[in-house]
Symmetry: C2
Subunit: 205 residues, 2 copies
DNA sequence: ATAATTACTGACCCGTTAGTCAGTAATTGG
DNA sequence: CCAATTACTGACTAACGGGTCAGTAATTAT
């Protein structure tokens, strides 16, 4: 009896396809990625891909959903379940998150989001609700907790959560464009963290 | 004698076309912009466009060149020709530049640059040399001047130029994606400026 | 075994669009 | 006024790629 030409693996296909799509999108960008190519990488025919994803745009959304959101979940879970002081969290898990993000494949998705976002308003809304808003909210809560416990003084600056997010976005974009000339991401993010924490604690800057 | 169907205006065509292209790219992004559409907006036939620009990519590069670079030139000229103190410059012209950029059409080009950059390495190099590198260099010089004149203390933070550039890029991206939910650009940039200047002056943060 | 089901294939279709080019009409020079 | 020049037009094409679907082969039910 001959080897079967293919196996039916309904369960695994979607994930295999989104993984292939992630790689392809990362390499070529959205518009330049051929659906045919994604299918090949996933070891599947184009027809099958269209069985699981209605359109190319649909596929793109699925990629964002399945790779970016979990990352944010991980962060917020740590905040909620740990007893760390705000500073410990910022210098620990947050810093770790921020410094590893720009080198990860997620950073490519963020770039894609910037590039393609305006063409997909509903995706943008999804991204806002599930990633950006929650991320900023988490920082906000954390700072508030720091203030409550007398660790930080109450700052006049309302934009603090954004100021913490800034170096992350900056590094992601900067590195993805000017890999070679990019300053050390760790130092950049570290410097901003130092500035902000010093400010929150009321130290001499 | 009838009105001529068209005038020959060799001199003005390139600029008119790049202007039309800027608008089109801004509205639709690079891939979704039709060369035909750019031509129509410029009031020319597609054939003529191809007489002035070899390819669509060529056109894109011309747009970046002609609209972004002058903006940086303006800034560096002010630095070189004015007698302002560093702080005056940062709180004056630099702040003005930074806060108006995210609302201008240039910001759309920056987003396009982020989106399309990786596909055009030579353009990226050009952009680095003529925009990013010069911009960072200008800030660097300015800070150095501030230190020389005893206005600022010498900071241990080497990444300062990037820290000044950060809120600008952040605002550009943030606003172009989440226009509605974007925090007040002025305040965001202002806050970062305050932090950095306080740090440079050695004040209490 | 064989029928019914369905995951899967791959050739095809068709709208779309970057880029071309033979021809046309506005200029310019004699 | 006519000829030479060239800025300009617009119909054309060649290719590409998203999406479809009739058919096939693996699986499951009987």
């Amino acid at each position: 009896m001959p080897e079967p030409r293919f196996r039916r693996r309904k369960e695994d296909r979607p994930q295999e396809i989104t993984e292939a799509a992630l790689t392809a999108f990362a390499e070529k960008g959205y518009a330049a990625t051929r659906v045919d190519d994604v299918a090949k990488r996933a070891g599947v025919s184009k027809g099958l891909l269209y069985l699981y994803f209605k359109t190319k745009e649909d596929l793109f959304k699925a990629v964002i959903r399945s790779f970016v959101v979990p990352r944010i979940d991980a962060l917020t879970t740590i905040i909620d379940n740990s007893e760390m002081s705000a500073e410990e969290f910022l210098r620990g898990p947050f810093f770790e998150f921020a410094r590893t993000l720009p080198g990860s494949h997620i950073s490519i998705l963020i770039r894609l989001m910037i590039a393609e976002g305006p063409k997909h308003p509903d995706l943008l809304q999804f991204y806002w609700d599930n990633v950006v808003s929650r991320g900023l909210g988490a920082i906000s809560e954390l700072l508030e907790r720091g203030v409550q416990q007398g660790e930080f003084r109450r700052s006049a600056v309302n934009e603090l959560p954004h100021l913490f997010a800034m170096p992350v976005l900056f590094s992601v974009v900067f590195r993805s464009l000017f890999e070679k000339q990019c300053p050390d991401t760790d130092k950049l993010i570290g410097a901003q963290l130092d500035l902000l924490i010093a400010h929150m604690k009321g130290d001499v800057a």
